[in-house]
Amino acid sequence: MFTNYTALLIYFIVAFLSAFGMSFISNLLGPQAPGGLKKATYESGIAPEAPVGYFSVRFYRVAMFFMIFDVAVMALYPWAISLTDLRQAGFEKAVFFLVIVAFAFAYVWNRGGFQWD
């Protein structure tokens, strides 16, 4: 009998191999006709200035907020599954935790952290 995780592992290996194999289809079947400006970066006719890699700091901010609040949410998954056993005591403790999270959320909101401009 296979455990669930061996079955998943086998599936993941097959899925990766089929995705990996698929990425070579055009190399095998497609024409190879180098030349011209085919390999140039498409930037609407303007010559690209390499390297590209800088972007607005606002994206970093979103990533940090996600880290903070998603970890808080993740901590509640096991709690949510066993809530019917924890009853009222479990609810009160989670509300205490959520009030702290909500306070942080309100603080970030108030400081304009969710404002995109």
Partner: protein
């Protein structure tokens, strides 16, 4: 032992090929429907009712030249679409497509595996899909691609928070995170969209954002970013991003059906797997319907909608469900 292995391998191959087939006919379904929404016929020339169109499209993609931009980071550029498709395929392993069937004297469950943390595995892999997009955008060394990739990651992680909160109520009611267990819990308690209608709506909105579908298709907004993160891709690598997007659509529909609409449950005049596919089909129709109806969001509105409306709404409903389940209310 041997029988189990054979059954498993057959299931693995069947699931991957069915997902590919599902992808192919979803594209046709979408294009025909968009045609009707826009008072035209859509593709109907290749084969009867255009049924051979996906085959022609796939062949066309496969026979294109595979271009590698001179400035691109070669290995990352090659691997990014593989990663995107791999993550999309992996999520479906834990979705039960039907009630267990009895064959060769053993019960065969219609999913690859049913671990007790099924829902968490599904979410983990759907988050991994972001890497395929952001790495593809970065490796192309193109400003449009980079912006598309970065936008995609910011949008997907923002909406993931609301998505994670919205399914919490289902976990509380079902008392398990195993997908099979959630379906069976709905057999006992009734479908969860009745008590959880607001979390369902939040989940469904975030599902559109997670799959980069209209009205949240900012990562590939063609009016400003040419084609977003896959601007530099050609041939079958380009097709792989499309396959990943459509398989993700099937997957989020499958998860929505499993969590909120009873999975394969239904009146017994149709087999369970047909019920599951019908429900997923309705969800796919809504995806196309929304695409034909709504214009694209502006980026700042998209971000503030996620953080300022969806997350607080999901949080409030989550506390209310917790109070109900724990017996405080």
């Amino acid at each position: 032992m041997i029988l189990q292995l054979v059954i498993l391998i057959v299931k693995v191959i069947l699931l991957i090929s069915l997902l590919m087939l599902g992808f192919a006919y979803t594209t046709l379904f979408e294009r025909r429907l968009l045609g009707f929404f826009q008072l035209r016929l859509g593709p109907n020339r290749v084969g009867p009712f255009g049924l051979m169109q996906p085959l022609a499209d796939g062949l066309k993609m496969a026979l294109k030249e595979d271009l590698m931009p001179a400035l691109a980071d070669k290995s990352v550029f090659r691997l990014a679409p593989v990663f995107s498709l791999f993550a999309a395929l992996c999520v479906d392993a834990v979705i039960p497509f039907g009630a267990p069937i009895h064959l060769f004297g053993t019960a065969i469950s219609l999913d690859i595996a049913n671990p007790s943390i099924g829902l968490l595995i599904a979410f983990a892999f759907s988050s991994l899909g972001i890497y395929g997009i952001v790495l593809g955008g970065w490796a192309s060394q193109n400003k449009y691609s980079l912006l598309g990739g970065i936008r995609a990651s910011a949008q997907m992680i923002s909406y993931e928070l609301a998505m994670g909160l919205s399914v919490m109520g289902v976990l509380m009611l079902a008392h398990t995170a195993s997908m099979e267990g959630i379906v069976l819990a709905q057999k006992a308690h009734g479908w969860f969209f009745v008590p959880e209608i607001i979390p369902f709506l939040i989940y469904y909105i975030t599902a559109f954002a997670e799959t980069n579908r209209t009205p949240f298709d900012l990562p590939e907004a063609e009016s400003e970013l040419v084609a977003g993160y896959h601007t530099e891709y050609s041939g079958f690598r380009f097709a792989m991003y499309y396959i990943a997007e459509y398989i993700n659509m099937i997957t989020v529909s499958g998860i929505a059906v499993t969590l909120f609409f009873g999975g394969w449950l239904g009146p017994s005049f149709l087999p369970p797997i047909i019920w599951f596919l019908l429900k997923v089909g309705v969800s796919m129709f809504v995806f196309v319907w929304v695409r034909a109806t709504f214009p694209r969001f502006r980026y700042d509105k998209l971000m503030s909608f996620g953080w300022k409306y969806l997350v607080p709404a999901a949080l409030v409903y989550f506390v209310a469900t917790a109070a109900f389940v724990s017996g405080v209310l």
